[in-house]
């Protein structure tokens, strides 16, 4: 049922159709008068002219004497001119030039002898005088229409007697959250309740765009209630945003509610995520009010805001709507997409050996944290099926390129200690930038082989020798090129519910319980596969063995929530959730570093941190770590 009534309009067309429809109905910015002192960054709605001259009188520009320059015509070092008191006046900087004078001689160039002064050089008429209107003359245009004002512009306007001016009013935006499942962030959410955080994202974004925002209380899934809120919002706002209920599911009342107060211009855009956006308009009291139904998932909402709502706001603030800024980057892994939509995929970006690499992040429309990590958005065009690894892809930048170029790119096995290292680094050197992604130990090896990361954590047990990491390096880096650095030894074990209520003893009990696993290629997955093989247990006999999580904490969270009984992971993760923990082995968690990255300032900072007390202290507090010469280079080839 869902989506069946939705159109599938290409993004550019949708943007144009919507804006054209709004403008055709008369959408235009409001103007208002503001005090000059309070007009910083506002945009002028009409030209501003000087009311008085600046300076508004001929002003002495130096401390010294004012006089008629012609009196000094033949003055020189050897033949100074003596001036009697009627011929000059002592002045300070800013004093009006006295009547009959046309210049100032600096105090440094005057010798005083009781009330006679001597001048040792000829003065030039109008020297050291700020002539009336030197800065701005009355009637001059200070700034034209549609100019964003800077602090200096405010100063110039005040100097020219402009105390108030006309600027575009900040658009008033109403943001209405809707859904029975939503609860305010201050409430303790129960099962099935979703913390309402979208309006915080949207309202702060609108403020960044120069709007004033009002967030409405959560409206239940009830068409009458939604209509009422929409009407109230439209009466007092320039733009109304309704969040959620915009697709065509059982509880999607947004469309009919919006139709009750206005006209739907478009419903269904050929983008992913963001497809079910509703672009509508209401007309009230002669005002044209854009009404936008944003999809409920935060990532979908953010994309629609950025691509479709921003140009509408730009029209109301008269700021330029700049096209996305793109860079070309090499994509690190395969990315499939559909021909039906223009797809937006968040990505980490990193410059490794001068090559800009894009690592696609979790595409889940609910994964808002990916926007915290993302440096850019890969835009997969509507007519493209995706990209193969190594292809050059267009990436919309979310951070300045300079920042990306100096980012330390960590790709590999997950351990919370990497976040702690990042935190120590940013605390000691606030300009540090670190991007880490969790792709498992094998992922680290592959990323370094392809030159897509500076370093990564690895803990790879070699079944044949029972040793860690080195056999893998010999296999995958026969020609060298990487450095192995000692980080920590850490305790892996079976995490269970608090107090181990099922009384699990070890690996041999796993066929009895619901297991939650780590993803293939992670060191922990390799370890559990190995441990099962040792005990001659068939993984197929373990319930949910295919259920995969990407991090130790995600495994712990699943167990803590009761949706799994056991999973292999590290002690520090078990501790966060107060889980039962049955130690299984101690393993070597090292850092694999590209040789060329060893020279980077960021890597040197990392080594410094590994060897320091702050790191040791934090590891001890987290638990399950043993530190033996962290930062030491391990010879391996």
């Amino acid at each position: 049922m869902a989506f069946q009534y939705l159109t599938n309009i290409p993004l550019e067309d949708a943007r144009k159709q919507y804006l054209d429809a709004l403008i055709a109905r008369g959408l235009s910015p409001r103007a208002e008068a503001v005090r000059t002192q309070e007009a910083n960054h506002r945009v002028t709605s009409s030209a501003v002219y000087a009311r008085i001259c600046a300076p508004h009188y001929n002003a002495c520009a130096m401390d010294g004497i004012a006089l008629r320059a012609s009196l000094t015509n033949y003055a020189s070092e050897t033949h100074p001119v003596a001036l009697s008191p009627e011929q000059y006046t002592w002045v300070n900087t800013g004093d009006p030039l006295p009547e009959g004078c046309d210049c100032v001689v600096m105090v440094e160039d005057v010798i005083q002898d009781s009330d006679v002064v001597r001048v040792y050089g000829a003065a030039v008429p109008w020297q050291h005088v700020r002539q009336i209107g030197e800065d701005i003359a009355a009637g001059d245009m200070i700034v034209p229409t549609n100019t964003e004002l800077s602090p200096s512009a405010l100063g110039a306007m005040l100097a020219a007697g402009v105390l108030e001016l006309q600027v575009y009013a900040k658009p008033r935006v109403a943001v209405i959250p809707s859904g029975n499942e939503l609860v305010d962030p201050s409430e303790n959410p129960g099962q099935g309740s979703i913390i309402e955080f979208n309006t915080t994202i949207f309202s702060n974004t609108f403020q960044d765009w120069g709007c004033e925002t009002k967030v409405f209380p959560i409206v239940p899934d009830n068409q009458a209630a939604i209509e009422l809120a929409l009407r109230e919002a439209a009466l007092a706002s320039d733009v109304v945003v309704l969040n959620a209920g915009s697709s065509a599911g059982m509880k999607d009342f947004a469309l009919d509610a919006i139709k009750s107060i206005g006209e739907v211009i478009l419903h269904g855009i050929a983008i992913k995520p963001g497809k079910p956006a509703i672009l509508a308009v209401a007309e009230m009291d002669g005002r044209v009010i854009p009404i936008i139904g944003l999809p409920g998932y935060p990532v979908s909402g953010i994309i629609v805001m950025d691509q479709l709502v921003k140009p509408v706001v730009a029209r109301l603030t008269m700021r330029p709507f700049l096209p996305d800024q793109f860079v070309e980057a090499t994509i690190s892994r395969r990315l499939t997409s559909t021909l039906k939509y223009l797809e937006f995929v968040r990505a980490r970006l990193g410059a490794v050996n001068g090559k800009l690499i894009a690592v696609p992040l979790n595409r889940g429309a609910g994964v808002v944290s990916s926007f915290v990590k993302a440096d850019g958005i890969i835009q997969v065009p509507q007519d493209t099926e995706g990209f193969e690894p190594g292809e050059s892809v267009p990436v919309q930048l979310l951070r300045p390129r300079q920042e990306i170029e100096k980012t330390l790119v960590i790709t590999g096995s997950h351990d919370p200690l990497l976040d702690e290292i990042t935190d120590i680094m940013k605390t000691r050197w606030p300009d540090s930038m670190v991007a880490s992604s969790h792709v498992g130990s094998m992922g680290a090896i592959m990323a370094l082989r392809r030159g897509e990361a500076h370093l990564g954590g690895i803990h790879l047990l070699d079944e044949a020798t029972g040793t860690y990491n080195i056999p893998y390096l010999r296999k995958y880096f026969p020609d060298g090129g990487v450095v192995l650095m000692r980080c920590v030894a850490r305790t892996q074990g079976l995490m269970t519910a608090t107090g181990n209520p099922l009384g699990l003893k070890g690996i041999e009990d796993l066929p009895e319980v619901r297991y939650v696993n780590r993803q293939k290629g992670s060191g922990t997955r390799i370890l559990i596969d190995y441990l099962l093989k040792q005990k001659q247990i068939n993984p197929a006999d373990i319930q949910d063995y295919d259920r995969e999580e990407m991090t130790h904490t995600a495994v712990a969270a699943a167990i803590a929530a009761g949706s799994a009984d056991a999973g292999l992971g590290i002690l520090s993760a078990a501790r966060i959730y107060n889980l039962g923990f049955i130690p299984v082995c101690e393993e070597q968690y090292d850092l694999l570093i590209s040789e060329s990255a060893m020279q980077l300032e960021s890597v040197q900072r990392l080594v410094d941190i590994l060897k320091g007390e702050e790191f040791a202290g934090r590891m001890q507090k987290m638990g399950g770590y043993t530190l033996v010469n962290p930062g030491e280079i391990i010879p391996w080839n």
Copy 2:
């Protein structure tokens, strides 16, 4: 006397010495707790960890049925699996995954037959389920220390149960204006009174840098009063700025006042303007408070703010202090400088034929309007005597390079109509950028010959033929390359005080009065020279004939203020000041346009404006203009 006690420390050294001195005394940012919803753009003072998982339960990600995936193992299009009501549950997006289920099948893929449903394909365990912690797991670090927060980061924190967090407090900055000559902008300034606008510039700049500001009332030139204000400010602020009185003149109490509450680290920096800045520190209640004495001239103050105060604020907000961003540009005219100082010269920038040109602006330290016009600042190093025209110079960018590249560069004769054209252009096409500088008609010819402007206004009378403009083009552009476009005919005349109290009749009366002239090379100067020659009057017989102004309005302002009796200029300028006006002649004011610029969108817009009604209407309102086919190309070669 002035400056004699001042040091002359190079800028980089001064910056470092001051910051080191502050840090050695313990300068550090304050932290405070803020609500997550209100933390946009704030910088974290400690790492933020997730308190709960997001989602905090296994949530259905689609509308459909929840079930155990294994039930559908052998389902296919031809052999659907029928499920009885005990085997499935209808769910909506966001619902908790029911006990015993491990996946969701979308409503679109289910056929319902009373209470039995049929599924036509095998479901994969955990499909369409947002597993607990999929976005963020409790205990995960969401952002490290020293991270500026975005709206998405606020959303992620709320989703993870973080309602409040620690960020750096906004530094509280006190700005104290000082000087007997200062009056509030709201007062009507008399002779010798200066409108106090510096604190508006500085306080808005501090706000742009993330500070809270308090502007004090104007303090008179009285050491005790300044001391009192400084002490009051230091008690309640993190940074104190005292504006004016910082050099060593007769009324400069700043130094002694600052010494009474703290310690002066540096007084006298090898920069121009900005030399007399005072960099000091006070310690109160265990707090370290930077105290800065800013020079009184606005341009000096802005340079000191940018170069020396900004890094101190960056330390208190923990934002990176980024080095100035430079571009190389070709300087359009000679720029002399002293070896004693690093000199900052505001400049217009424009890209003409792909070459970036820097045109130095008025260097006056009081000319704040130059900051409104400036696109960049030429930094002349301390050991450099200046630059010759055509040399490549380092320019600190004040606007994005993209904007500069699309700016229409107008260089030539002054007429307020150019500002009106700019205003019409920005009103109709808000993305337009226009930079015009007034260098006279000959300046236009020279700038176009050197490829430094797209176009300029000219009104050049050829004495031999009595015709306008064309003879000059034949002389200076023998090989063509420029287009002459009709703009307006305008009335030049003698401006006098209101009502012409001296009863001037014309040019012949000029030897009797105080004259105010236009600069050499301007069309108006060429015209007056020609008119005097016709009447056989020697310019040397006219008082103040060498007094030069750069614009018609500045000439009018001088006459209106009574500091001159007459000057040649256009009617529209005389009207602004309600001056007497004795028409002398009608002249042809045309536009000289580089042939290569004719293709630019901005020039096409200009032509469109010249031919339009809005322009004609404005010209009629201003007065003294006759329009005959404006925008028409005049054949000349």
